[in-house]
């Protein structure tokens, strides 16, 4: 038997891992430290809301770093919040329904409508430092990332197999042990995939947010997005800078995919809840490199284990860990008074805020309202057109890819990366093209919407095509189905559930994108068209908060209604009639 805890010294003398790993880890730590210092000094500096953006390529690394820092902080915050929110919702039957409804509605509100309010609030909080401005952008990123992760964690918690929950109860796990050994591992796969989607949508929001103005406030944060936009706004257009900016962005996305997401997905194989090993697995050379167990990597895990032991020891002495808690526990009666009081307070606060909002809405005239409704109709048509076009091309292509496993294996990682590149980075370029062509945003915005959202549909169609069981395909061959029959009886019904999932995500994304796609400013040139998104952007730019609020409420109402009336019915159809396994 190998000795279990050798002295650290003996490991040093018997080096079995490549020195490269140690060197790389040290470099990473140094870089991290340097980054921290730079960020700190920047944040504590005097607030400079409108920074002059340099167009030189040499400024790119710094700008890229600032953007990445914003993304990273916002992501960590949203992960923590999502876990907390999902946990509370799953284990508190009383508030569960409310929390889910809130989640549903907040998911439908276009993120960019929050922008002015959040910015002003954060600056008011931290008047003396640049930190306030930064915090505004981080909070905005947070609101675009958190909801789908919260929902994923919640639904994972709800689907933990009953016998595993019972075994954790009968063996008297503390809530801590349950979280780390049961709940988090079980939800890991869902959280990882949703993180990939969240970060992608975060980039989408960040790029346009770093350079914006509303009313007489104008903001320019140093970052990749402002670099791209200011390069596109210059006269003449700085093509050189644009090129380098886009290259840097694509490099960052690819690096994130290879260095972070792929190893995570390969690692998450460990958490797959299946009884037998599956044959196809995602591999990642980075993960294999890291798992060679360099000594430096063992140090943090050993420190963590030591800390954990103390926690477990402390927890095991508590009352809660000595008794078996029934699974069908009734909520504590004593806490009822407190929660009723809390409910009344919350209700009062909500009523007050709502009345203030209604008061604000009085600023909207009937003419404005009519324009808004017209815009809503136009955007509605555009969203549906975009969805239709997306479906028309992704279904044949997706089915073709999905039916051919070798092609799928090569193309899937590539499509993943392409989908992660935020479409909003291309908007300045596309808008320039449209201006040069003289075309308006009426049709152009549909193209922009497509660029952002068609990938969701493609992914899901590929997954659906791959999931059609081969024996059904063989039956179609044996009975000599015509092409029409094959498509209407086998392929379309088979991919239906996946198609619907993709379309729902794409529809929500298209509404959100419309804010950017229907109205754009490059320097002193403005492109706009009739649409609800354009009206939201215009109202933001002019500081007309009443119109902004009305338009946001309208958009959220349309999305939520569509969800309830259309998508939920289609989902139910997919669950009953088109589900493949019994």
């Amino acid at each position: 038997m190998k000795p279990q805890h050798p002295l650290a010294r003996t490991l040093v003398t018997i080096r079995t891992w490549p020195i490269l790993i140690d060197a790389a880890v040290i470099l990473c730590c140094l870089a991290f430290f340097l980054g921290l210092i730079k960020l700190g000094t920047y944040w504590m500096a005097r607030p400079m809301p409108a920074v002059v953006i340099s167009h030189s390529a040499r400024a790119l690394p710094l700008y890229a770093f600032y953007s990445i820092a914003r993304m990273g902080i916002a992501y960590i915050l949203s992960l923590l919040f999502a876990i907390g929110y999902g946990y509370l919702a799953a284990y508190n039957r009383r508030v569960e329904a409310w929390m889910l409804a809130v989640l549903d509605i907040l998911q439908s509100i276009p993120v960019l409508s929050f922008l002015p309010g959040v910015m002003l609030a954060m600056i008011a909080l931290f008047p003396g430092h640049q930190f306030g401005v930064e915090l505004g952008s981080i909070v905005l990123l947070f609101t675009s990332q958190v909801w789908n992760m919260a929902f994923s964690f919640y639904s994972s918690l709800k689907s933990i197999p009953r016998e595993m929950v019972e075994s954790s109860r009968i063996f008297r796990y503390s809530a801590w042990q349950r979280l780390w050994q049961l709940e988090l591992p079980f939800s890991a796969i869902g959280l990882i995939w949703n993180s990939i989607v969240s970060v992608a949508s975060g980039w989408f929001v960040l790029i346009p947010c770093e350079m914006l103005s509303f009313g007489d406030h104008s903001f320019r944060l140093p970052g990749l997005g402002s670099y791209l936009y200011s390069a596109a706004s210059a006269t003449p257009v700085d093509m050189h800078a644009l090129f380098w900016g886009m290259a840097a962005l694509i490099l960052i996305i690819v690096a994130t995919d290879q260095l972070i997401w792929r190893p995570l997905i390969a690692w998450s194989d460990k958490f797959k809840f299946e009884q037998v090993e599956s044959s196809s697995r995602v591999t990642s050379p980075i993960l294999e490199l890291l798992s060679h167990r360099g000594m430096l990597l063992q140090l943090p895990s050993r420190a963590w284990n030591g800390l954990e032991e103390k926690i477990y020891h402390r927890l095991s002495a508590t009352r809660a860990c000595r008794v078996v808690h029934p699974v069908d526990d009734e909520p504590d009666k004593g806490g009822r008074l407190f929660s009723v009081l809390l409910g009344i307070l919350a209700g009062a606060a909500v009523l007050w805020a709502a009345s203030q909002a209604v008061h604000l809405l009085h600023g909207v005239t009937w003419a404005d309202l009519r324009l808004l409704l017209l815009g809503a109709g136009a955007t509605y048509l555009r969203v549906n057109a975009a969805l239709l076009i997306a479906a028309l091309w992704t279904i044949p292509v997706g089915v073709a890819i999905g039916s051919n496993p070798k092609v799928a294996q090569v193309l899937q990682p590539i499509t993943q990366i392409v989908a992660s590149i935020p479409a909003s980075a291309f908007f300045p370029v596309l808008m320039l093209v449209l201006i040069r062509m003289g075309a308006g945003l009426g049709i152009g915005s549909i193209a922009l919407m497509l660029l952002g959202t068609q990938w969701y549909v493609l992914f899901n169609v590929i997954a659906g095509a791959m999931a059609i069981p081969s024996d059904l395909k063989e039956a179609a061959e044996v009975y000599r189905f015509t092409r029409w029959q094959r498509w209407t009886r086998l392929i379309l019904p088979g991919i239906f559930p996946y198609l619907i999932t993709g379309m729902v995500t794409a529809s929500g994304g298209a509404w959100n994108t419309s804010i950017l796609a229907e109205y754009g400013t490059l320097g002193n040139r403005t492109l706009e068209t009739i649409g609800l998104g354009a009206q939201i952007s215009a109202a933001t730019g002019e500081g007309k908060f009443a119109t902004l609020l009305m338009a946001t409420v309208l958009m959220a109402a349309i999305v939520v209604t569509m969800n309830r009336l259309v998508w939920r019915r289609l989902y139910r159809l997919a669950e009953t009639r088109y589900k493949l396994e019994g």
């Binding site: 197999p161 019972e166 009968i170 063996f171 008297r172 591992p185 090993e277 020891h313 402390r314």
Partner: protein, 462 residues
């Protein structure tokens, strides 16, 4: 006739609980209150005691609430009425020391075998070295030495259940609960594990004082248990509770063994008997056994046809135990088919024997179309639900009825899950008998197409 192993049978458990019972359940009930003054009674008022030094087996068909009983006794579920005591203290606040071995193993796939076994010790705050030592010793005891670093998905079913046992025993529980631990395993592995468990118990290699086993396998119960409790269903209640006095190791083929198994079969197939004393409650509980909806046994018409033909081959009468043995059926699989055939009047049960009736003989001798006709007549005559569905369909102008209509009525009697299953079985029988068809997309019962046309043309003629 007093032979070793055949006890005096009790209809209800009225033994005084011994003073040193580890776990004692006093008049525990589990029911779900309905808004309409009714209750769905899963388990009726029951007394049960687990005393040290014995293996108790809880035996019963599915739907008798044995898993619910196990969960109430182990503290995982709170009884709706009555109280469970641990060493004479209420179990809710007591520091109990029990473990459960699950049917589906309930191992954590992201932990190695060693980590899985160590986890309960971790919960008790035991130091890493001591933890490791105890877990390794336990893995050695169950025969998994060398597999500490393996992940559950690399193991076979038998090995996974051994890990389950190691994990349950490593905390040295006073009572070991087992919820159908061998039913997910193949026959040979199950045999192996059973005898190993008996060895551990007999040699006192484990400090466990009592074992509580839930199973639907009669032979397993007789092989392992010192005491057998048989549950009936609708609602769950104790039919009989007796000691098994056969010496270990027990021989399957021995006369006392087979007689005991036969006796239990008889108990299970005896028609329901009214309870000895009326339950004292404030809200009137409609005893399910007197409700008018029969609980449809979940069997397929094809199975019934097969059984009747087999019976006919054997001269029209045979012992159910021997039937099960010859067909290699578990009691859980055979009883529903027997129940269904009895419900339709195709056979009768007398003293553990199944005897085919005249209509059953006719059924077995006919070809498929005539079989369907006979089935249809029997179903309409004997089964209220099918009769109601058909009548509703006939009387409506559009000849369709939504499923919810019947779900509402079944709801009074059965739990939500059971209602769905009843409808599913009714649909299967109705389709076979060509009584009606079911549109899954709209969730409606419809008349079969051929008969719709008949009615249509019939109306035209008028």
């Amino acid at each position: 006739m007093q032979e070793a192993g055949i006890p005096a049978s009790n209809q209800a458990s009225s033994q005084a609980p011994p003073a040193d019972a580890i776990i004692r359940a006093k008049k525990v009930e589990k029911y779900y209150a309905q808004p309409s003054q009714n209750r769905i009674q899963v388990i009726s008022a029951t007394d049960l005691a687990i005393v040290p030094g014995e293996i108790v087996a809880l035996l019963g068909p599915s739907g008798s609430g044995k898993s619910t009983m196990l969960r109430m006794l182990s503290g995982l579920s709170t009884p709706t009425a009555g109280q469970v005591y641990w060493h004479e203290k209420p179990i809710a606040g007591a520091e109990i020391n029990v473990s459960i071995v699950f049917q589906s193993f309930a191992l954590f796939p992201w932990l190695t075998v060693l980590q899985n076994v160590e986890a309960p010790l971790q919960a008790r705050g035991i130091a890493p070295d001591a933890r490791r030592e105890r877990s390794m010793k336990m893995l050695d005891t169950v025969g998994l030495d060398g597999f500490e670093a393996a992940y559950p998905k690399e193991l076979s079913g038998g090995m996974k259940q051994r890990v389950g046992f190691a994990r349950a025993l490593v905390v040295e529980p006073e009572v070991l609960f087992m919820d159908e631990p061998f039913s997910a395993l193949d026959v040979l592995t199950a045999e192996n594990l059973r005898s190993e468990l008996l060895e551990l118990w007999a040699n006192k290699s484990i400090p466990t004082k009592a074992i509580f086993l839930v199973t639907h396998n009669i032979e397993e119960a007789v092989l392992l248990a010192d005491r057998i409790i048989v549950l009936g269903r609708n609602p769950g209640h104790i039919r009989t509770d007796f000691r098994v006095q056969l010496a270990q190791p027990r021989n399957r083929k021995s006369e006392p063994f087979t007689q005991l198994v036969d006796y239990i079969y008889k108990v299970l197939t005896k028609p329901d008997v009214a309870p000895a004393e009326a339950p004292e409650q404030q809200t009137p509980v409609r005893d399910q056994r007197q409700m008018h909806y029969q609980m449809l046994p979940h069997a397929r018409p094809g199975g019934m046809a097969g059984l009747l033909e087999l019976l006919l081959d054997r001269g029209g009468r045979d012992d159910i135990y021997r039937l099960a043995d010859d067909l290699s059926f578990e009691i859980d699989d055979l009883l529903p088919i027997v129940d269904a055939a009895q419900l339709l009047g195709f056979l009768t049960i007398e003293e553990g024997d199944a005897a085919i009736t005249e209509s059953g003989t006719e059924f077995a001798n006919s070809e498929i179309l005539r079989q369907k006709e006979l089935f249809r007549d029997a179903a309409l005559a004997n089964i209220l639900l099918l009769r109601q569905i058909r009548r509703a369909l006939d009387s409506k102008i559009d000849h369709t009825v939504p499923e919810d209509f019947f779900l509402d009525m079944l709801d009074e009697q059965f739990s939500e899950e059971e209602c769905q299953r009843q409808i599913e079985t009714a649909v299967t029988w109705g389709r076979y008998a060509e009584l009606f068809d079911y549109d899954a997309g709209h969730r409606r019962f419809v008349l079969p197409d051929a008969q719709e046309e008949e009615i249509a043309t019939g109306k035209e003629d008028e």
